[in-house]
């Protein structure tokens, strides 16, 4: 009885404490999700007004369209470039710096430093390196004599190199993040584990694969999931470095760029933007479910 009355007595307080958060989350997270699902089967005028339903077939049409499939493929390629390379480099750096030596703090600071760059800062630094007329590489004659693509048409303007160039900028920008996470993971590996493996005669590589790797696998899983979802949501790099181009191949039009990009083919069509956004949501959900199932069994969570 006392508990029951307490349940009721605390309603106003609970309402006051949860109300603001609930209002924001409902208005700006759940409502837009539901509304996007609905808008995805509508078509609107160029101002985004006067929307009319055209049927759920709009989703199937989007999925079947060349533009969506192309953007999805670009996104998958982008993730396949940035995630494995970023992870291997991050782990390599962390291992290189995982030793108590003089001056190691200095190197750790440098390796972490790219975490201070936002996507805009990192992309513009790389734009200045790669841009074909005012860029650094294009103004080193010995370099563009060997690799003419740097100047004509430019690494960001060649359909063969554009996605890789954007990818490298993105890998660089994420390197500090990966390094910090993996370093924290390595530091949680007990020293005795290494020592006993050493006494047992395990070499460096053996100790790495048999002791270190299993023990940092939760960190690696987490890092992989975060890097993959970042790759699938990448936007600023494409917006600043390539504008989704080069045209006509749209070599760097990722799914997110297709939705929001200023030179996207659907930039004035709210219905199609919503449909692609909903599809992106489904893809990301499926992807994280897959990653946790696939890696989950092989991950060692310690004892």
């Amino acid at each position: 009885m006392a508990i029951k009355s307490r349940r009721l007595r605390e309603i106003p307080l609970a309402f006051a404490m949860l109300g603001p958060s609930l209002l924001v989350l409902l208005t700006f997270v759940l409502y837009p999700l539901g509304k996007a699902v609905w808008l995805g089967q509508q078509t609107c005028d160029v101002q985004g007004k006067n929307c009319k339903s055209v049927g759920w077939g709009q989703y199937t049409n989007v999925v079947k369209s060349d533009q969506f499939q192309h953007a999805l493929w670009v996104t998958v390629k982008f993730a396949m470039i940035t995630v494995p390379i970023g992870l291997v480099l991050g782990v390599g750096l962390a291992i290189l710096a995982d030793k108590q030596l003089r001056g190691m703090r200095f190197f750790r600071t440098i390796f972490s430093s790219t975490i201070a760059t936002s996507v805009a800062v990192a992309s513009l630094m790389w734009l200045f390196l790669l841009q074909p007329s005012v860029g650094v590489l294009a103004n080193l004659s010995w370099l563009h004599n060997i690799f003419p693509v740097i100047k004509e048409p430019g690494l960001l303007n060649d359909s063969g190199t554009a996605l890789w160039s954007v990818g490298i900028s993105s890998i660089w920008a994420n390197l500090g993040f990966t390094f910090i996470l993996v370093t924290a993971g390595l530091q949680s590996v007990p020293k005795e584990m290494h020592e006993s493996a050493y006494v047992d005669g395990a070499g460096g590589w053996m100790r790495f694969t048999n002791v270190t790797l299993p023990l940092i696998s939760p960190t690696l899983l987490f890092t992989t999931v975060v890097l993959t979802s970042r790759a699938f949501q990448a936007y600023g790099e494409m917006d600043l470095l390539t504008n989704g181009g080069p045209i006509p191949q749209d070599s760097t039009t990722s799914v997110t760029y297709l939705i929001y990009g200023s030179s996207s083919i659907i930039k004035n069509n709210d219905g199609l933007q919503a449909a692609v956004a909903v599809l992106l949501f489904v893809i990301l959900l499926a992807l994280s479910a897959l990653q946790f199932r696939g890696f989950g069994k092989r991950v060692h969570y310690g004892s």
């Binding site: 307080l13 609970a14 309402f15 404490m17 949860l18 603001p20 958060s21 609930l22 209002l23 924001v24 989350l25 409902l26 700006f28 997270v29 759940l30 409502y31 837009p32 999700l33 509304k35 996007a36 808008l39 750096l93 290189l96 030596l101 001056g103 440098i110 390796f111 430093s113 790219t114 201070a116 936002s118 996507v119 805009a120 800062v121 513009l124 630094m125 200045f128 390196l129 005012v134 650094v136 103004n139 080193l140 660089w172 910090i180 924290a184 070499g203 939760p218 960190t219 979802s229 949501q233 936007y235 600023g236 939705i259 929001y260 933007q273 919503a274 956004a277 909903v278 992106l280 949501f281």
Partner: protein
């Protein structure tokens, strides 16, 4: 391993050499940016790898004509509002989930939980329309309100609150300590380190936002640092030194914040990796 059998001095020499080479690679884009920002316009393309001229005028220009000063102020206002309000709403909702009894608690909790699955990129198509219909385009309300509450912060703090034994709350109540007193005396001191990590995390996330401000900002006066850089890059591509000066001005405040709050950073980043 060959390195294991090599003499000790030689081994650390090899490691230092590798560390140095890698560090130079990582710093290369920073180096080219800094020397470009310190060169007058006519010298930028001469020899992009050498600091063959020096001036501070470009940095000054970026601050005034490039309006980086204005953009920095806007971003600071947005990030401070988002971070501080987010901490308050997170504490309040985490407290309610941990210590209050009320009907439909599980349902409300489920609503919070479900929002974690929805990526930002999915909701912004509609949020732009919502902000537009509220008349909040080009405003601080538009830049901040959608982000002043997060389920992430709520769960992070709730995890810590749940470590407080229920008996302690009962005992405090017997002693006449109400919820407000309990929150101030017991709950908040306990989560203080987590609040630091959460605060830093929110501040960085808010400071670095790119897509959302670019969707709801059309007036230059309301540009944040990130969208302001975009504006600068598109209007002054012929002045790469000015753009690079802008990126330096944009990066330095965050660099300082990170150096000051190093401890919180690792905690904040690993909060998701280490559960419980």
């Amino acid at each position: 391993m060959a390195l294991d059998t090599a003499p000790k001095g030689w081994r650390s020499f090899a490691r230092y050499s590798m560390l140095t080479i890698v560090a130079l690679f990582i710093l290369f884009p920073v180096y080219t940016t800094v020397i470009a920002a310190l060169k007058p316009g006519n010298k930028v393309l001469d020899n992009p790898l050498l600091p063959n001229a020096f001036t501070l005028d470009v940095l000054k220009n970026a601050w005034t004509e490039g309006r980086l000063g204005r953009y920095l102020m806007n971003t600071t206002i947005v990030a401070v509002i988002v971070t501080s309000v987010q901490l308050v709403t997170s504490i309040a909702s985490a407290y309610a989930f941990s210590f209050l009894k009320f009907p439909l608690k599980r349902l409300v909790f489920g609503i919070f939980l479900s929002t974690l699955l929805v990526p930002l990129e999915v909701t912004l198509v509609i949020n732009r329309r919502t902000i537009d219909s509220l008349g909040w385009l080009n405003s601080f309300q538009g830049l901040t309100v959608p982000f002043i509450a997060t389920a992430f912060g709520t769960f992070l703090l709730r995890q810590v609150f749940m470590q407080i034994p229920p008996d302690l709350r009962e005992a405090a109540q017997m002693d006449g300590l109400g919820h407000w007193g309990f929150m101030k005396e017991v709950a908040i001191p306990l989560v203080r380190p987590t609040l630091g990590a959460l605060g830093l995390f929110s501040f960085l996330a808010s400071w670095n936002q790119y897509l959302w401000p670019s969707l709801i900002t059309t007036k230059d006066d309301m540009n944040t640092v990130q969208t302001g850089l975009r504006h600068l890059a598109s209007s002054d591509l012929d002045k790469p030194n000015l753009i690079m000066a802008g990126t330096i001005i944009a990066a330095v405040p965050i660099l300082i914040v990170l150096v000051v709050f190093q401890k919180q950073l690792v905690r904040g980043l690993t909060a998701g990796a280490v559960k419980g």
